[in-house]
């Protein structure tokens, strides 16, 4: 393999942007913000990935999908590295990713609460002392109610719209 023909980092980001999330295939792994770095180490490509939830079963599938996608582009030497810190936050989901989630029927995370991991702030929110409005992804109403903090996957909560009455998933802040 000629060393002069290594693909550019920009091209590789483009290729990774084509890899769908296995659970929510409308968004890509770059939309999710879990690819933290792409770099060459000699002729080995190092892709640094951060997990969404520590127990997310999609993590293994994502790693396999990344390796397969890059192999299909002709890259033989790929190394995946896991980075735990800084921990993934839904703040890293791209604007395009949020828009795709909404179109797909999943309310995107509401900005500004992801950093609130302190108990007191969460308890404030729980008891209604702070406002968190999750818009209905179908009709746009802001009259929605939380059914459960846990949904069909670890990253989602279950909500219901009080206007169109449809239940929907909310990609919760973390």
């Amino acid at each position: 393999m000629a060393t002069a023909t290594l693909p550019s980092i920009e091209d590789i980001w483009e290729w990774l942007a084509q890899v769908p999330d296995p659970e929510i295939p409308v968004i890509s792994i770059t939309d999710l913000g879990i690819i933290r770095d792409v770099a060459w180490d000699g002729d080995t490509l190092v892709v640094t990935v951060t997990p969404t939830y520590s127990g997310c079963p999609a993590t293994t599938v994502i790693n396999l999908d990344i390796e397969r996608a890059l192999k299909e582009k002709g890259l033989q030497r790929v190394r995946l590295e896991r980075r735990l810190s800084p921990a993934w936050t839904t703040d890293w989901i791209s604007a395009e990713g949020r828009s795709k989630l909404k179109t797909y029927g999943i309310a995107p995370p509401v900005d500004g609460t992801a950093a609130d991991v302190t108990l007191l702030k969460r308890l404030d929110r729980l008891s209604g002392r702070s406002s968190l409005t999750v818009g209905c992804p179908r009709c746009g109403s802001s009259r929605t109610e939380k059914i459960s903090q846990f949904g069909s996957t670890a990253c989602k909560a279950s909500y219901r719209c009080s206007d169109c009455l449809e239940p929907f998933d909310y990609f919760k802040c973390i």
């Binding site: 939830y53 127990g55 735990l84 810190s85 921990a87 846990f150 670890a154 973390i174």
Partner: protein, 260 residues
């Protein structure tokens, strides 16, 4: 995995290994207990919530036990630690191995654990061991949702019907003697606390305050201080852990080395 870097020089590796087992074994055993609810919870949403919480715990177990494996440096993987140790070598809190009981009791156990877990991880964010701090950073985000939910449900069931109130009080009275162990400072803790790796004993005051506030809101009566069971940190367990391990470890015991 690449080259394992051991950054700790001030803390004895064996002591750090014990600490990591405590963290990982507690999440492993409680995660298993919660997974027993899968398909049996009183409502679909609760079933899903319990399974999701179990999944978070199993994921956190992988992080803690992987680091334990690296620190031990004897070639035992995280899976080996989870599947091939016997009860005497487990370091989980006794609280986590208590049987599920009814839904209320499971939630009371969860709340008492979550309150400790949340505060403990919060303190570990400042651990002098960067690897411990990184796991705490990841896990604390997940645990923030656990405590939010278990606290809410303890309040709702405690301050609910006469029946739910009575069951929650009974659950609390039954589980309370297993909470003291969270704060027992064994000799090994002292070294870790001194080195800034493990959380300080001041955690107890914060836990007491959080629990007292929640129990008051839930109209539940905090049990009188009395005998507290301990032993989990030294591998002295109740009879229940063996049954948990029999189920948890069956596949690897019957088919050693079986991969997915």
């Amino acid at each position: 995995m690449g080259s394992a870097t051991v950054t700790d020089t001030t803390v004895d590796r064996a002591v750090l290994f014990e600490f990591l087992l405590r963290m990982g074994d507690s999440t492993l055993v409680l995660g298993h207990r919660l997974s027993e609810w899968c398909g049996h919870a009183p409502a679909l949403e609760e079933d899903i919530a319990l399974a999701n919480t179990a999944l978070d715990f199993i994921g956190q177990t992988q992080l803690w036990l992987s680091l334990a494996s690296e620190v031990e440096g004897k070639g035992r993987s995280a899976d080996d630690l989870a599947y091939l140790r016997d009860a005497r070598d487990f370091r989980n809190l006794l609280l986590t191995e208590r049987p599920n009981g009814d839904f209320g009791k499971t939630l009371m156990r969860q709340f008492l654990f979550d309150a400790w877990h949340h505060l403990c991880l919060g303190a570990l964010l400042g651990s002098s061991d960067a690897r411990v701090a990184a796991i705490a950073e990841k896990a604390s985000k997940e645990v923030a949702y656990h405590i939010e939910r278990s606290r809410d449900l303890v309040v709702r069931l405690g301050d609910g019907t006469a029946e739910s109130h009575a069951r929650m009080q009974e659950a609390l009275d039954d589980l309370w003697p297993y909470t003291g162990e969270m704060f027992v400072n064994e000799a090994s803790d002292v070294a870790l606390v001194a080195a800034g790796v493990a959380p300080p004993a001041s955690l107890k005051a914060e836990w007491d305050a959080l629990v007292a506030e929640t129990l008051s809101e839930a109209t539940l009566k905090k049990p009188a201080e009395g005998h507290m069971h301990k032993g989990g940190k030294r591998g002295i367990h109740t009879e229940h852990l063996g049954y948990v391990l029999a189920e948890l470890q069956f596949l690897q015991r019957a088919y050693p080395g079986a991969p997915w």
